[in-house]
Symmetry: C2
Subunit: 141 residues, 2 copies
């Protein structure tokens, strides 16, 4: 029987290992579309907002990796014409960031690939999937 420290240490190690394993596949799948996982994440959030534009700080809150620099991510996506940026009318400190048709198109294509990729997770049962999601959420407190 392991001691407590080693037990939780192995949670950390398996978390890092499994994420790394999945992330590499994710990057590989998105690469042909020239999308980084962080950019894909932004596209999903923008599309999920049903064409109502959102602010950068909203994106910062919603995004998976809180460490990412929204301004510079949006810069790159604007160049690729996947998003637009305009001054918010009601609060002029904010930007209205919105997805374009081109952005929606690339999001749909990428999503198709990701829906395929997700099948690599099918080595666990649906019950296990429910359990692991729940515990992962609980970990973050």
């Amino acid at each position: 029987m392991k001691n407590k420290k080693d037990l939780y240490q192995s949670v950390a190690v398996e978390l890092l290992t499994t994420q790394s394993w999945y992330m590499h596949q994710l990057k590989a799948v998105l690469k042909p579309y020239d999308i980084s996982p962080a950019q894909y994440n932004i596209l999903r959030i923008l599309n999920g907002a049903k064409n109502r534009p959102v602010s950068a700080s909203y994106l910062k809150d919603q995004v998976i990796d809180k460490g990412s620099n929204i301004t510079r991510l949006i810069d790159k996506m604007e160049i690729k014409k996947w998003v637009t940026r305009s001054l918010c009318e009601t609060n002029r400190r904010q930007m209205d960031i919105d997805i374009t048709d081109k952005g929606i198109k690339v999001l749909l294509e990428a999503t198709k690939e990701i829906n395929e990729l997700i099948k690599v997770l099918y080595s666990i049962t649906e019950d296990e999937a429910k359990i692991v999601s729940k515990i992962l959420i609980k970990i973050r407190g």
Copy 2:
């Protein structure tokens, strides 16, 4: 009841989110020692090898993030005098990579911090810890 795709999608999202959350804390904890998580990983492997030197390819196999560039990691760690690199006598294609006393010292210091950090995972029970480790391993197939 969610459909299957959404269920496994949420596993992916929670995996990425929780790892990102933990990784940021890990980086913050290691920063004062000027160690990256990847370098800490190398130090642990070298120390775990009980002072028997190992090859770069062995490290590549053992390391958590398979995408990392062992040569460059070792370059940096050699500069900091945490490891030594010498030609392997028995197989002269290989390098013998070994940890130094200085490397052991910084490893021990960093490990102390990480043993503290691990407590952020205590929001789940020991049973949940066992379960989540097991499922994370199973995911990778």
